[in-house]
């Protein structure tokens, strides 16, 4: 997936889950759990949101790659492009 607008879409998903997240202050490489106190339910919700927004299948073993903004971008770049 090489859409240039992945980051703003990911940031929107993040703020949908945690309304208090300031998109401007997200550190790309820092894990959501450290930055925003994400727990396993938040992580799962983020994976579900990424699945719905980008139309990618996300096996459970790949969850760890979605723990940060940059990680999610790398994951989507590798994922086969699919029609949402």
């Amino acid at each position: 997936m090489n859409t240039p607008d992945v980051r703003p879409r990911l940031l929107k998903l993040l703020t949908d889950i945690a309304a208090d997240v300031d998109p401007a202050s997200v550190a790309a490489e820092a894990e959501f759990s450290d930055q925003f106190d994400f727990d396993s339910m938040d992580q799962l919700n983020f994976a579900i949101a990424v699945h719905r927004e980008f139309g990618v299948e996300i096996p459970e073993r790949d969850y760890r790659e979605l723990r940060s903004l940059a990680g999610a971008e790398r994951y989507l770049r590798r994922a086969a492009p699919q029609t949402p």
Binding site: I17, D20, S40, M41, L44, R52, E57, E60
Partner: protein, 362 residues
């Protein structure tokens, strides 16, 4: 005849709520469980459900008004003939300005007898007939923050409830294998979190071993007729609520996961329903995402038990005489000594542990 809808209990140490908006209007036909108003409480905005069915006759309070638990909010035209009460008892209730549906009937088919109305009349302070407009609560204290609500409920628990504590290490390998198999076969929207088998095991064990599911009120234990499973949910920015998954005993692991997801999301960013805040009969608190081995939890009054779970961690464990690395979960139980003893607690905790060894049967 008219039935008053009163502000229901919203959980331990929640006495006041402010009406934010009505979700129903005079003339609307409503049924039990419908949301008829939104109220602001110490725990945030709550969807207020009604426990009667009928037609709204009149709204008694306006948005912005502070109410105390028990205050009348609206008048309903009750379903005719629904309330079993003799004509003599009904007339006497009217003379005493009593709301007959607040009186527990013990006559045939739960009918309310004249005697019961007389007795209720003696214990109810004489008061003016239900005023068409509910008085605002001028002396109501300001809304407390969530921390004060937690402090108040937990201080009451530690003051009133003689807790005892037990813990047990549980091999979580079978539960984890079952989860992995389930999660590998469904897409991300249907996957379960590791806490789900535990919740399900606690629900089943609560039905198998008596004395842990219910409320302690008026000096006695009142067993729950259903398991309304409270789940401690940490809020972003601090604080904690423990709303209940209502009728959890009727839910499969998959529907339990859906209910849990819905509850957590609404606790954090939406609105909880009034029944969820007050209904809990037994609570689970999991710190599985944190780096802790075990929790020594505090009972949420008027409940009588709470199960705590630490993080699942790889530990050396003896299996068939050999040491293996296994995923181990330390479960703890805090229970009310006025209701049960350690032996019963050990049976309850042991039942949860055993159920987790055959998760496919959950």
């Amino acid at each position: 005849m008219s039935v008053e809808f009163r502000l229901p209990s919203l959980g331990a140490d929640m006495e006041y709520a402010t009406l934010v908006e009505w979700k129903a209007a005079p003339g609307d036909v409503i049924k039990r469980g419908d949301v008829i108003a939104v109220v602001e409480t110490d725990k945030g905005a709550i969807d207020l459900e009604i426990f009667e069915s009928g037609k709204i006759e009149k709204l008694l309070v306006s948005p912005g008004v502070r109410m105390r638990v028990g205050d009348a909010l609206a008048l309903l035209e009750g379903e005719p003939g629904r309330l079993k009460i003799s004509p003599a008892a009904r007339a006497r209730a009217a003379a005493l300005h009593l709301v007959p549906d607040a009186v527990a009937g013990s006559g045939p088919g739960g009918a309310i007898t004249l005697d019961e109305i007389e007795r209720a009349g003696r214990v109810t302070a004489p008061s003016a007939p239900s005023a068409p407009v509910a008085p605002a609560a001028p002396a109501a204290p300001p809304l407390r923050d969530l921390r004060s609500v937690i402090a108040s409920a937990m201080a009451r628990s530690k003051r009133e409830i003689p807790h005892y504590y037990l813990s047990a290490a549980v091999d979580y390998a079978a539960a984890r294998a079952w989860l992995d198999a389930h999660n590998a076969n469904v897409d991300v929207t249907l996957r379960m979190l590791p806490v789900v088998p535990l919740l399900r095991a606690v629900i089943v064990a609560a039905a198998d071993v008596g004395g842990f599911n219910g409320h302690y009120e008026d000096g006695e234990f009142k067993p729950g007729t259903a398991v309304h499973l409270g789940v401690a949910i940490a809020l972003r920015g601090g604080g904690l609520v423990a709303p209940a998954i209502v009728d959890a005993q009727a839910k499969s692991p998959a529907t339990l996961m859906q209910a849990l997801g819905d509850l957590v999301n609404r606790a954090r960013s939406g609105r909880l329903r009034s029944s969820e805040l007050a209904a809990g009969t037994l609570t689970v608190t999991s710190l599985g995402d944190q780096a802790v081995d075990s929790v020594t939890p505090i009972i949420y009054p008027p409940q009588v038990a709470i199960i705590g779970a630490g993080a699942v961690g790889e530990r050396p464990w003896v299996v068939d005489g050999r040491i293996e690395a296994r995923p181990i979960l330390t479960l703890s139980l805090a229970a009310d000594h006025r209701v049960t003893d350690g032996r019963a607690g050990a049976r309850f905790l042991g039942r949860v542990r055993d159920l987790l060894q055959t998760p496919e049967k959950l």
